[in-house]
């Protein structure tokens, strides 16, 4: 079980579902759910504030939706790579999308931190195999 995961997803039901499944699979202790890319960027900005002890237990896995209002998953990935990756190097992203456009998958997997492109819904079995495959264990 890892310390925390971040779910970035604009659909409220999907977000709730994600949290339920993560909890059911015993995948992570803490679940941070945010409604779009901008909220996620703000979250990381908050984390790098000096003196914030939480920044060590930053989420190792981010479940990212692609098409969101305000700031899309694409924009988030760009911004994260540019501004935050050096500070949070162990972050890995799993894109969770309903997109059927094959170009989206190619484009997403081109990012080195993206380790998977999964169709929704997120399932317990997927999380179990993800944990096994990446040997995710507590880092704190």
């Amino acid at each position: 079980m890892i310390e925390s995961v971040l779910i970035v997803e604009d659909d409220e039901v999907t977000r709730m579902l994600g949290a339920l499944v993560v909890k059911k699979a015993g995948f992570a202790r803490n679940i941070i759910s945010l409604a779009n890319g901008l909220a996620a960027i703000d979250y990381y900005k908050e984390l790098i504030q000096p003196g914030d002890k939480l920044s060590d237990s930053y989420p190792r896995i981010v479940f990212l939706d692609l098409y969101m209002p305000v700031l899309s998953g694409w924009e988030f990935l760009e911004e994260f790579m540019r501004s935050f990756l050096p500070r949070f190097p162990e972050t890995r992203v799993v894109v969770l999308s309903s997109s059927v456009n094959p170009e989206d998958e190619v484009r997403a997997l081109a990012y080195p931190i993206v380790i998977g492109f999964e169709s929704k819904p997120i399932t317990v079995s997927f999380l179990t195999s993800l944990a096994q495959h990446w040997n995710l264990s507590g880092t704190v």
Binding site: D11, V13, T14, L17, L20, V21, K24, Y67, S97, S98, S99, V100, N101, P102, S119, K120, P121, I122, T123, V124
Partner: protein, 1289 residues
């Protein structure tokens, strides 16, 4: 001291208005007045000195009678007392400067006696100070103050509490009516008395005084600003409990106290009674395990049992329950409702018991669910005297129920939030579940009210019947119904199109237990489609109707009906573009009569409603047209009850070409949708209207030509003929078109006319000829024909002139020649005469030399024997004709040996024939030349729309054909002498100049289309052939032959634009598909995820379980369907799939491993022979998918009577690789299904795991890479698929 003069000046220029009066009462003559006073008179130049003051005092005498009386009295007073008098701040009506009106001013007047040396009053001085501004200010502030006091007292007196104010010394300054009531003292009795003496009981008086003192000294008062419960005493010395709040206040620097007091005797009494009741209850209910309470209302006592301790953990010894124990422990969300219900029951004299459930807080803070039973004991009168209640802890049962409910709610919330209409029906087709969207569609407020109802309860009978039949069919067949389109009416009366998909819900035994459906509103798509159909219809109408007027009427009718207008008119811009002309009108039958009269037919730009639409070039909507005569035909609008008018300009190339006006009865909201729709229609039909208009104009030219113009088919019929023909020949157009042309030709001319026309068609060359036509009345008309074949069309354009008159003249000449012919014997022309037997009678020298005969031997011989010159057959024939018909013949004969032309005139006479031969060689040659040129020119110039011009070497026009009028709208004379280049678009000029320079080297140059200006300063596209004929003396210039190809160029440009738009829209559509599938999948994946979470949670309600199972199954089907569709979308969308060299055997081996188990179950034998073509260039995943589909198909449709046998073999066929896949399964009837075999969702066997997608996918994948698939099959023998691969990398 001042000198008298100085005094006078001081008086005169004082800013205070002053006047000196004589004391000669009652007149008070004016002696002197100063400048300031004159100003008060407001320019009323009156002679005042010597007049009576009271008469000239500058105020309105009528309105100020009282003031004047005051003034008079003051004057008398000055006289009688010898003292000064002052009239302060009085209101006067004073003349306003420069007007005849009066204004209100406030003046202070001072009257002062002036004594002489004898102490007698010699004069009275009167001064006026204007204090208006101060007076108004003061008045206002006074009003304000009064109002404040008033409102404060009102609040204080109306207060429910007694309000008492005291000053620092304790003296009463305010005492409101409620205070009078409570304490028995009247306000006037207590004002100014010390408060504590009056209402504080003697025992507390000292403490009260100390408190007031302390506050005054230290500013500290613990009793201030808080609610106190004290004892007070009233007028009759009775002590009672009160509630008191004291506020220290400060006003105008003065400190005082204000107390709010309430009598709480009654409440105190109740509290005491309650305490007694409690005791009783403890005893009565200690033994019972439920928490019991007993409220003796009469005694006001409440008792609570030991159950409150054992069940809820509350233990208050000696029944000392805190106040509001119950209220403060009922869950805040429940208290409002529950207490209201209980109160209701208690107040209802009939009610004796109540049962309810709510949440009750235990002492550890957790909430228990309790069920409470209450029994009310009442007096005879119904007044409750005792209430007993029992609280039962039902937390466990409740929690279970809530958990179930939560799951249900979750699913419901999801379904309810879908924008699509979701419903579930049971076996009897009654509604079971409807989501919010569907409830709105049904017009139901709650789901309960839909229970047990069917479609017939909600939809119009015909719609309900369709739905019912669909549902029955679904039950019957078990097949889902996809995308059924239905027109339904919403509760608001709006008609919408919905697209419905219904699927059966099955139980574990696969029996259908209901229907689940999901519908989508597709009205917007439908409306767009309707609009498109409308535009299509209009364009069809414009093409179909012969005349533009009829076409426009149809257009109006189509738009009008579609938009629910009631009448419409179409106006076209006249050819000179100066006027809008009414071309057609349409109106609903009911009002057609009103609009059938002959209207004013034209409007100028900006004139009338159509003219304004023309001027503004935009959609105009006017409402309330019956008001103010907004339009010219307000009267008709009133009669027809029409209120709104819409004007739609039709713009072509940025110019208005037509205006459509419509009227309707209700006012139109100028919304975006209506304007957008109309403008779209306008844009889409503009080109066609312009085309129709041009056609109409062309027709007019056609019909108004002085010559007959016609189009003629190779089949011998006229295809089109103008009105000139009908008026000349007397036949109607219909008659002319319906019979072969030669039926109208003079019988003698029919033969040669036919030959000539055949020749024109066969050789494809122009033709000129003359023949006779017979009119309807039997007259003969000579017509001259000029025909040009249209290449490749089997048509002939002809322009025909009536030359009857000319022919008549010719005949006249013949007759004349006949008369004088015999006299011309001595002429120098050749002449000879023969008798009836063709024996030569006479032959002159000239004739001898012409015909080359010897004079000595010809007399008495036959003519034919003596002529050695080679003569034509015509010569012989014509002479015979002259004799036989006994008529003069004249013809031209060419004699090749001498190369000369002769005019031959043969005159028959009683004895024989006289023949003249005239050398006309020069004439004929000149004439031939001339005729040829004339013909050519006439054809070029007269025919249709070609522009002919002749230029000199510098490019200046020498001649321009009249066709400029039709093509460019200009007069040909305008061009003469001007340079042709001046009319060419500057961007094209350079290019054309270069062509022009080539003329020295080339005779004939074809020039690509360029732009040439027309009369409206627009550029037309012109295609030109330039021929240098400078050397030809008859022309002497450069001939330019041009044709207007604007429409072709424009169409070309439009086509290119269209392709661009289509390409873009294709991309958009692709993007749209992706977005749609994304949006569809997103909520669906949520449902799937939620379903997975629901699993494992027990559900007790079996129906709900069924519904959930049904929903899950349906959702899985829907998910699979979408995934399938996405697969198809991706194949259809990827033009370039990666190809690589693939070995068949490897792929097959992998798949056979994968399908090992099912193949073993089927005892299948698979034979593979790929020796001839072991590999192919193809896409790996496609090939895997294809084989997988073929193998699973073979497994699915294997015969139950024999073990499955599959044979796979490959071969080469030229460059292609062919793979045969053969099984021995149940097969199918290829002939029967051949059109649908490879279609989407086509199934040929009813098997639950067959989706009808496999063959479609295979075909799509094969075709995506240029391959193909074929099938052969026999029922119960097997199926062979033949796959042909294009084997290139």
């Amino acid at each position: 001291m001042l000198s008298p003069k100085q005094s006078e000046e001081l008086f005169n220029f004082s800013p205070v208005a002053g006047i000196i009066l004589k004391p000669d009462e009652p007149v008070f003559t004016v002696v002197k007045l100063n400048c300031a006073f004159t100003q008060l008179l407001a320019g009323q130049e009156k002679q005042l000195t010597g007049q009576s003051f009271l008469e000239v005092f500058p105020v309105c005498a009528d309105r100020n009678a009282g003031s004047l009386e005051n003034l008079r009295r003051s004057l008398f007073q000055v006289l009688s007392t010898g003292t000064s008098q002052k009239l302060e701040n009085h209101e006067y009506e004073v003349p306003a400067p420069g007007t005849d009106t009066f204004q209100k001013r406030y003046w202070t007047l001072t009257l002062h006696p002036i004594f002489n040396d004898q102490e007698e009053i010699q004069y009275i001085s009167l001064s006026i100070v204007d204090v208006t501004d101060y007076a108004l200010l003061e008045k206002k502030s006074r009003e304000l103050q009064e109002r404040n006091v008033e409102s404060r007292n009102f609040i204080m007196n109306a207060a429910l509490d007694a309000i008492i104010c005291i000053d620092k010394k304790g003296a009463i300054t305010f005492w409101n009516p409620q205070a009078e009531k409570i304490f028995g003292w009247k306000e006037k009795e207590v004002m100014g008395l010390i408060l504590s003496d009056l209402i504080v009981p003697p025992a507390f008086r000292k403490r009260h005084e100390q408190g007031v003192d302390r506050y005054v000294k230290t500013g500290h008062g613990p009793a201030l600003n808080v609610l106190l419960e004290l004892t007070a005493v009233n007028k009759s010395k009775k002590e009672f409990p009160i509630e008191l709040t004291v506020l220290p206040l400060k006003q105008d620097g003065e400190e005082f106290f204000c107390g709010f007091i309430r009598d709480i005797s009654a409440r105190k009494q109740q509290e005491n009674q309650l305490a007694k009741l409690t005791e009783r209850l403890t005893l009565a209910t200690q033994a019972i395990s439920d928490a019991i309470w007993d409220w003796n209302i009469k005694e006001g006592k409440i008792y609570r049992s030991e159950g409150y301790n054992t069940l809820y953990g509350y233990d208050f010894p000696a029944q000392k329950w805190p106040e509001n124990f119950w209220e403060s422990n009922v869950h805040p969300d429940d208290i409002g409702f529950i207490s209201a219900r209980i109160r209701e029951v208690i107040e209802n004299a009939e009610a004796s018991s109540w049962t309810g459930e709510y949440r009750f807080r235990k002492s550890d803070g957790a909430y228990a669910f309790v069920k409470e039973n209450i029994i009310i004991v009442r007096e005879q009168s119904g007044t409750p005297i005792r209430i007993v209640g029992a609280l039962q802890d039902i937390t466990k049962a409740k929690e279970q129920e809530q958990a179930n409910q939560k799951e249900r709610n979750l699913l419901r919330a999801i379904i309810d939030n879908l924008p699509d209409y979701v419903f579930v029906k049971d076996r009897e087709l009654r509604h079971v579940i409807n989501n919010q969207a569907n409830l709105r569609l049904l017009g139901a407020k709650t789901e309960e009210e839909t229970l047990g109802k069917t479609a017939a309860d909600y939809f119009a009978p015909e719609i309900a019947e369709i739905i019912h039949q669909d549902d029955l069919q679904l039950f019957h067949s078990g097949q889902p119904i996809f995308d059924r389109e239905e027109l339904v009416e919403t509760p608001e009366g709006k008609r919408i199109w919905i697209k419905t998909t219904k699927i059966p819900l099955r139980d574990e035994k696969q029996e259908i237990i209901g229907i689940a459906g999901i519908s989508q509103d597709i009205s917007i798509l439908y409306e767009k489609e309707q609009e498109q159909i409308l535009v299509q219809n209009i364009i069809t109408a414009l093409g179909k109707f012969e005349s533009i007027d009829d076409a426009l009427v149809e257009t109006l009718r189509l738009i009008g009906t579609f938009m629910q207008f009631r009448m419409g008119e179409a106006w076209l811009i006249s050819m000179d573009k100066k006027e809008l002309l009414r071309k057609g009108g349409w109106a609903e039958e009911a009002i057609a009569e009103i609009f059938s009269y002959n209207h004013r037919s034209g409007f100028k730009c900006g004139e009338g409603f159509p003219g304004i639409v023309w001027q503004n070039q935009q959609l105009e909507v006017w409402n309330d047209i019956q008001v103010d005569n907004k339009i010219r035909r307000t009267e008709q609008a009133r009669l027809a009850g029409l209120n709104a008018v819409v004007g739609l300009p039709i713009l072509y190339k940025g110019e208005v070409i037509a205006v459509f006006t419509f009227m309707t009865d209700t006012n139109i909201t100028y919304g975006e949708s209506i304007s957008l729709l109309l403008q779209q229609i306008a844009v889409q039909i503009a080109l066609d209207i312009q085309r129709k208009k041009s056609e109409d104009e062309l027709n007019r030219f056609f019909n108004h030509s002085p010559d007959i113009l016609c189009i003629f088919g190779a089949d011998g019929y006229f295809k089109k003929i103008n009105t000139t023909a009908t008026s000349l020949l007397g036949y109607s157009t219909q008659e002319l078109l319906s019979r072969p042309y030669y039926e109208f030709v003079h019988p003698d001319d029919q033969e040669f006319t036919k030959c000539a026309i055949d020749k024109v068609f066969n050789d494809n060359v122009p033709f000129y000829g003359e023949n006779r036509y017979i009119t309807k009345t039997g007259d003969i008309k000579w017509l001259a024909w000029d025909c040009i074949p249209v290449e490749g069309e089997k048509l002939l354009y002809a322009s025909v002139k009536d030359i009857t008159e000319k022919k008549g003249l010719e005949e006249e000449i013949v007759r004349y020649n006949e008369r004088i012919g015999s006299i011309l014997e001595s002429i120098t022309d050749g002449f000879f005469a023969v008798d009836k037997d063709w024996e030569v009678i006479y032959l002159n020298r000239e004739a001898q030399s012409i015909l080359e005969v010897c004079k000595n031997s010809f007399l008495g011989k036959k003519l034919w024997d003596v002529i050695s010159q080679e003569i034509s057959e015509k010569f012989t024939a014509e002479l015979h004709r002259a004799v036989v018909e006994n008529r003069f013949v004249q013809f031209e004969e060419y004699l090749p040996v001498s190369d000369k032309w002769y005019g031959v005139n043969a005159y028959p006479s009683g004895t024989g024939l006289s023949v003249y031969l005239k050398n006309i060689t020069n004439m004929v040659k000149a004439k031939q030349k001339l005729e040829l040129r004339e013909q050519r020119f006439r054809r070029l110039i007269q025919d249709g729309s070609d522009l002919i011009g002749i230029l000199d070497k510098e490019g200046n026009y020498l001649y321009v054909s009249p066709s400029t009028r039709q093509v460019l709208g200009t007069e040909p004379e305008e061009y003469l002498g001007k340079s042709a280049f001046a009319f060419i678009h500057e961007d094209d000029r350079e290019r054309i100049l270069r062509y022009f320079e080539l003329l020295g080297k080339e005779k004939r140059i074809q020039i690509e289309p360029f732009r040439f200006i027309d009369s409206d300063k627009n550029y037309r596209w012109i295609e030109t052939i330039v021929t240098d004929m400078t050397d030809d003396p008859s022309v002497g210039g450069i001939v330019v032959n041009s044709r207007d190809v604007t429409q072709r160029i424009n169409e070309l440009n439009e086509r290119e634009k269209l392709i661009e738009v289509l390409t873009q829209s294709n991309k958009d559509l692709q993007q749209f598909s992706y977005i749609t599938s994304h949006n569809f999948r997103a909520p669906l994946s949520n449902i799937l995820g939620l379903m997975q979470l629901v699993e494992g949670n027990p559900i007790e309600d079996p129906l709900l379980q069924d519904i959930l199972d049904g929903l899950k199954k349906s959702t899985l089907v829907l998910d699979e369907t979408i995934n399938d569709l996405v697969k198809v979308l991706i194949i259809k969308d990827s033009p370039a799939v990666q190809k690589e060299k693939i070995t068949f055997a490897e792929v097959l081996e992998k798949l056979l491993m994968h399908l090992k188990v099912p193949l073993q179950e089927a005892s299948a034998e698979v034979l593979i022979n790929t020796g001839e073509a072991p590999a192919v260039y193809f896409n790996q995943s496609y090939l895997e998918s294809i084989f997988l589909n073929l193998l699973t198909n073979a497994l699915k449709f294997r015969s139950p009577h024999r073990p499955l046998k599959i044979e796979i073999s490959t071969s080469r066929n030229g460059k292609n690789v062919v793979l045969r896949f053969k099984d021995n399964g149940i097969g199918l009837e290829v002939e029967r299904y051949k059109d649908r075999l490879f279609g989407l969702y086509q199934r040929f066997h009813d098997r639950p795991d067959s989706k009808g997608l496999g063959l479609y996918l295979i075909k799509s994948q094969m075709e995506a890479l240029g391959g193909d698939i074929g099938i052969e099959s026999r029922v119960d023998a097997g199926t062979t698929f033949t796959l042909t691969f294009k084997n290139n990398p």
